[in-house]
Amino acid sequence: MSAGVPPQAGARRLWAGGKGAGAPRLRGGRAEFLWDRILQGYLVLAYAFLFAPIAVTILSSFNADRFVALPWRGFTWHWYQQAVGNPGLLVGLRNSILVATAVGLTSVLLGFPGAYALTRAGVWWQDVFMLVMISPLAVPWILLGLGLLVFFNTVGIPKSLLTVWISHTVFSAPLAMLIIRGRLNTLRRSYEEAAWDLGASRLRALWEVVFPLSLPAVLGAFLLTFTLSFDEFLIAWIVSGFDVTLPVKIWAMMRSGINPTISAVGTIVFVFSITLSVVAQIVQRRGPTA
C-alpha cells in the first residue's frame, strides 16, 4: 500500500477478487487513484476507532496515574496486584468459570443429539425449527433475563449460580447445535452406514463413529459457549443472587468510580478470551477431514 504505486496498478488491485488472468480491467484515472487513497485512509481511521477501547484499557492498566490513561506517568504492575489481591474479584472469577464450564458442557450435551437428529431424520421443517431454536440469540437479553426471573420466582427456584447456568444455556445450547450441525452436514454418511452394515447398532455407530468425527465442532462449540457465558453480564445480573459472576462484580466496581483495577481485569479477560477463541479455531480446523 505504498503511495508510489502507479494509478493503473491501484485500479487493477481494486477488483483483485476476480479470477487471475481474467480480472476485469477498470478505468484507472487520476480521480480513481485519489479515491483509493481516501478509502485506505478511511480504513486506518475505522480500525483506530475499533481498537481505541482495547488500546486504552491496556494502556491505563499499566499507567501509574490513578485517574487518567494519558498522559503517561510511568509503568506499574500495581493495578494487576490490586486485581489479583481482590477477594471479591477472585470469587467472581471462580463463579464465572464454574458457570461457564457447566453451560459449555450442557450446551454440547443438548446440542449434539439435537444436531444429529436434524441432519439425519430428513424432515422438511428442520430449517424452521433451527430458526426458532436460535431465536434466543436475537431476542434482547434484557427480555430473556426478565422472563426467566419471573419464571424462577413463581416456580420457587431461588436466585443462584444454578439459575445463571439454566439461563445461559437457553442461548448457548442452540448455538452449539448450530455449530455441530454445520459439521455433521459436511460429514460423509458412508462412515456411519458402514458401521451399520458391519452390525453396529444405531446408537453405537453414533457414539463410536459420528461423535469422534465431529469432535472438533463439539470442542469448538464448547469453547464458544464457554466464552459467551463467561462474558455475559445483563442476564447474570438479573438472575444471580448473592453469588455473583465476574462481569457482575466488574459492574459493581464500575459504579464506585474510576479505578484502573477494572482495566487490569479487562486486560486479563481479553487475553483469556482471545486465547480461548484461537484455540477453538485451531481445534475446529484440525481433526479428521471427512
Binding site: 488491485r13 481494486l14 483483485a16 477478487g17 476476480g18 476485469p24 480491467r25 480521480a31 483509493d36 478509502l39 478511511y42 480504513l43 475505522a46 476507532f49 475499533l50 481498537f51 481505541a52 477501547p53 482495547i54 484499557t57 491505563s60 485517574f67 487518567v68 490513561a69 443429539p113 439435537g114 441432519t119 439425519r120 431424520a121 430428513g122 424432515v123 434466543p136 436475537a138 434482547p140 434484557i142 427480555l143 430473556l144 422472563g147 426467566l148 426471573l149 419471573v150 419464571f151 439454566i166 437457553v170 445450547a173 442452540p174 454445520g182 452436514n185 454418511r189 452406514e193 462474558d231 445483563l234 438479573i238 462481569p247 466488574i250 464500575m254 474510576i258 482495566s263 481479553f270 478470551s273
Partner: protein, 295 residues
Amino acid sequence: MILQRRPAPARRERWALWLLLPITSWQVLFYLTPAVFLLMASFWVMREYRLTPAWTLQNYRVFFQEFMYLKAYVLSLGFATSTVLLTVLVAYPFAYALVFCVPPRVRLVALVAVIAPFWTNYLVRGYAWQTILANNGVLNYLLLRLGVISAPLDVLYTLTAARIGLVHFLLAIMTLILYSTLEGIDKSLLEAAADLGANRLRTFTEVIFPLGSGGLVAGSMFTFVLAFADFVSPAVLGGQAQRVFPQLVVDAVQWTVNWPQASAFAVVMVVTILGTIAIFGRWMRFAGFGRGIGQ
C-alpha cells in the same frame, strides 16, 4: 449459515427425532414458558414483595399515562434510529473499502480485526470509553495537546457518549453484514459497468448500492433492535438527565422491584420490536432482499 445446502439424505432415520427431545424440552421449559410467564406477569401485581396473580391493566396504564415512561420510550426510538443511521454511515464505506481496496491475501486478517473488539467484555469496553471521553480523558488530552480545542469537551454522561459506545458495538456487526452482501455481488456486473464507461461513483450508485440494499436493510433491522434494547451503553456512558427506556425497565427490575411493571414494559418492547421487523420486512421485499447475495 442456517440454510446450508446439505447432501441428499440417503436414508431417513426417523428414530433420530427422539434425540431432539432433550434440547426441545429445555427450550420449552426455560424459554417458551418464561415468555408466557412474562406476558402473564404483566397483568399481575406486586404485594409485599411477592408476585401476586391478578388481572389488571394497571401496569399498561402507567406506561401510557405517566409522562416519564412515554418520554423515555420516544427518546429510545429516536436514539436507536440515530444510532443506526450513524452506524450505517460509518460501516458502509468501511465494508466497501474492505471488499474493493483490501487485497484478498490480507482479507481474512482484516475481517478478524473487525471482530477483535468483541473479545473484550462489553462492560470493560464501556469503562474504556469512559476513560476516553471523560473531561480529563484521552480524547480531550489529545485534542488539547494538538490545539484543536481550547477547553475540554463535555461528552461523557450524555446521549452522545452512549451513542459512540453503541456505534462501536454495532459497527462490527453492520460491517460484516454489509461486507458479505457486497462481496457476493457478481464481479462481471462491475466489469460490464466499466466497459460501458461508468466511473467509480456511477458504478456505485447504479450497480453496487442497489444490489447491496438487501444487506443494508437486514443489517439496519438487526442493529435497530440491539440499539433499542441496549442497557449497558446508556447506563455507563449516558447521563441522568436523559434516560432511555431499557434503563427504566432495569430500574423496575432491580431497584423498585416491581416485576409486573417491568413485564408490561417488556411486552411494550416486544411489540415495538415485532413492529420494527414487520416494517423492515416489507422494506426488505421492496429492496429485493437476496438479489445481491449469491453468485
